[in-house]
């Protein structure tokens, strides 16, 4: 008679060897075991195919500029020039380079000159995501919330070293100039002057995104989950499970307890929302003088699914902080928690379900632990990103997120 536990042990030990020396066999096996959205699966296949490639140093600004000029020769009619090519800081997962484009093709806007951003994957990213999806999402929400205007996309890395999106550089800042914040922008304080205005727009924009009618938008890179099924929850869970199989440094049994719990508790979808996926402080730019939000950034985790996924993410303790009184938790440093839910329900007309919130709280923390403990370890060990030192520093947040995940499951057991 088969001893299932022993078989699983052998597979765990074999996969540990494969993670150190990956091949496509591992990718094929886990793709079949954990089906998810097609574009996600393709991205993950791609990164596993490339994982055996030797390390390539982060491209220099000169190299990026050469790629850019070659790319623009094909995209633009007439003469053009690029000036002031420079690195942008911030963000753990994407290489971002700003530049000024001068082109007669832009004569009708901004007097032939526009400031743009190149947004590109490093050789391997903390989050393997699709520039095509990002491009489609930004286009879909452009008339609804402020976003950078997308200009071009190099989907298959024909000109740039990696898939690349080029969009408008929006004026603004992601943190208050007089308050030192974290490198990723999470949990930063905005101060009492800016909080009211930013907080108001924060909730308004979220409600608009979640209630957007996207039926007319080109979202061909997205799978549409069916209302009344567990599609979206299962796809998100499977994506994370696959990544854990391919990336983790060692086994962490709590993560597998979480996978078991999530699988037992998959919620049914009641309404498909367009989701930002990483809606929080640090991912919007604002005008420090007026307190106006000038752009929402980083749409790479966006997908079509359950609004509770975004709501649980946004209200995570990791992304907010307590007020000076020490007892009022401010969602993204902006809005007290209960007030956030009340305002959201009122503005969106959608209710907040505590049970689904709990599921997605567990799922989000599960994904974040996998990303910051699993993928961050793997890609820095391989020297794959321009931010390796930041990614290793992220381990500091893993265990508080794991405790949130543990507590949520424990509450369910007692509840």
């Amino acid at each position: 008679m088969t001893d299932v536990g022993l078989e699983i042990l052998r597979a765990l030990q074999a996969n540990e060897q494969l993670r150190e020396a990956p091949n496509e066999g591992l990718a094929v096996a886990v793709r079949g075991q954990f089906p998810t959205e097609d574009e996600f699966a393709d991205m993950l296949d791609r990164r596993m195919r490339r994982r055996r490639m030797p390390r390539r140093p982060t491209p220099s600004l000169d190299e990026v500029e050469r790629c850019l000029r070659s790319f623009l020769k094909v995209q633009l009619e007439g003469p053009f020039d690029v000036r002031d090519v420079r690195w942008l800081s911030g963000g753990a997962s994407k290489i971002q380079v700003a530049f000024t484009l001068l082109s007669s093709a832009l004569a009708h806007e901004q007097e032939g000159s526009v400031d743009l951003v190149i947004r590109m994957e490093p050789q391997e990213s903390l989050n393997s995501t699709s520039r095509r999806r990002e491009f489609q999402l930004i286009e879909a929400v452009r008339e609804t919330v402020p976003v950078p205007r997308p200009y071009w996309i190099d989907v298959d890395a024909d000109w740039f070293p990696e898939p690349t999106l080029i969009y408008e550089l929006v004026r603004g800042t992601n943190k208050v100039s007089t308050i030192e914040g974290r490198p990723t922008g999470t949990g930063n304080s905005f101060g009492s002057r800016l909080r009211p205005a930013l907080g108001r727009r924060f909730v308004e924009d979220l409600a608009k995104i979640h209630t957007l009618d996207f039926s007319g938008a080109d979202l061909g890179a997205f799978d549409l989950p069916r209302v009344g099924t567990t599609d979206t929850a299962l796809w998100q869970l499977n994506r994370a499970r696959r990544i854990w199989e391919e990336d983790r440094p060692e086994d962490f049994p709590l993560i597998d307890v979480a996978a078991n719990w999530l699988h037992r508790n998959l919620p049914v979808l009641d309404h498909v929302s367009l989701l930002h996926g990483d809606f929080r402080g640090g991912n919007f730019l604002f005008d420090e003088e007026s307190g106006e939000i000038t752009a929402w950034l980083d749409w790479e985790r966006g997908h079509l699914g359950d609004r509770h996924r975004d709501l649980a993410w946004i209200t995570s303790p990791t992304f907010g902080h307590y007020d000076d009184d020490g007892t009022t938790f401010l969602v993204s440093g902006l809005v007290p928690l209960e007030e956030f839910y009340e305002r959201y329900e009122k503005l969106s007309g959608l209710f907040v379900d505590p049970e689904r919130l709990r599921f997605y709280r567990v799922l989000n923390n599960y994904q974040l632990v996998i990303s910051t403990l699993g993928t961050a370890y793997r890609v820095t060990r391989l020297g794959r990103t321009h931010q390796d030192v930041l990614l290793t520093w992220l381990e500091g947040v893993v265990y508080s997120m794991a405790e949130q995940l543990r507590t949520a499951m424990e509450e369910d057991r007692h509840g």
Binding site: D3, G5, E16, D256, T318, Y322, V389, W393, S400
Partner: protein, 179 residues
């Protein structure tokens, strides 16, 4: 000869903060940001240097205890796995008793025990019978102490929303409570 690594690390962190970072081009924000992190890492390692052995011992003890608690369930669910539990637990206990055990061996043994526990958790999957519930519950409950220790270890990285709530490392390792 006494170990002076902490002195070296503290000097390196000071060099970053007082000499190197001020000299960086303000127009290179990525370099500035990463230099700040490098400085923080040096200070973190300096502060934790003397606790590394205690950490390895704590983690190995934790997994020995978890495996011990899971063994009766493993015997019912997967006798083959239960045998591996017993063998690896004995080996790990021997390592703790040997004063010459190096850090790599301690960590390697903890990893092996974690893999055994993971195999059992995966074997129960999303089943909901009594043994499955107990396996999941034992890991869930016992993880509290493990995570408390990890959060204390990483406290200087500044990610905790309420740092005052985190138990200091010397308290955690002094009590030795792994559950």
């Amino acid at each position: 000869m006494a170990d002076h690594t902490r002195n070296m690390l503290a000097a390196a962190a000071r060099a970053m903060d007082e000499v190197i970072r001020p000299a960086l081009d303000p127009g290179q924000p990525l370099a500035q940001e990463q230099a700040r992190i490098v400085s923080s890492i040096l200070a973190f390692v300096e502060g934790r240097w003397d606790w590394a052995h205690a950490r390895h011992v704590f983690e190995l003890r934790h997994f020995i205890d978890v495996v011990g608690e899971l063994e009766p369930h493993a015997r019912r669910l997967s006798p083959g796995l239960a045998e591996r539990f017993a063998a690896e637990r004995d080996r790990a206990t021997g390592l703790l008793d040997d004063a010459m055990t190096d850090a790599d061996s301690l960590q390697s043994s903890a990893r092996a025990l974690a893999t055994l526990v993971t195999a059992l958790v995966r074997a129960v999957g999303s089943r909901d019978d009594e043994d499955a519930q107990q396996v999941n519950w034992i890991v869930l409950r016992s993880s509290r102490a493990f995570l408390r220790a990890q959060r204390s270890w990483f406290l200087p990285t500044g990610w905790e929303a309420r740092p005052a709530d985190i138990v200091p490392l010397n308290t955690i390792y002094a009590t030795g409570a792994t559950d």
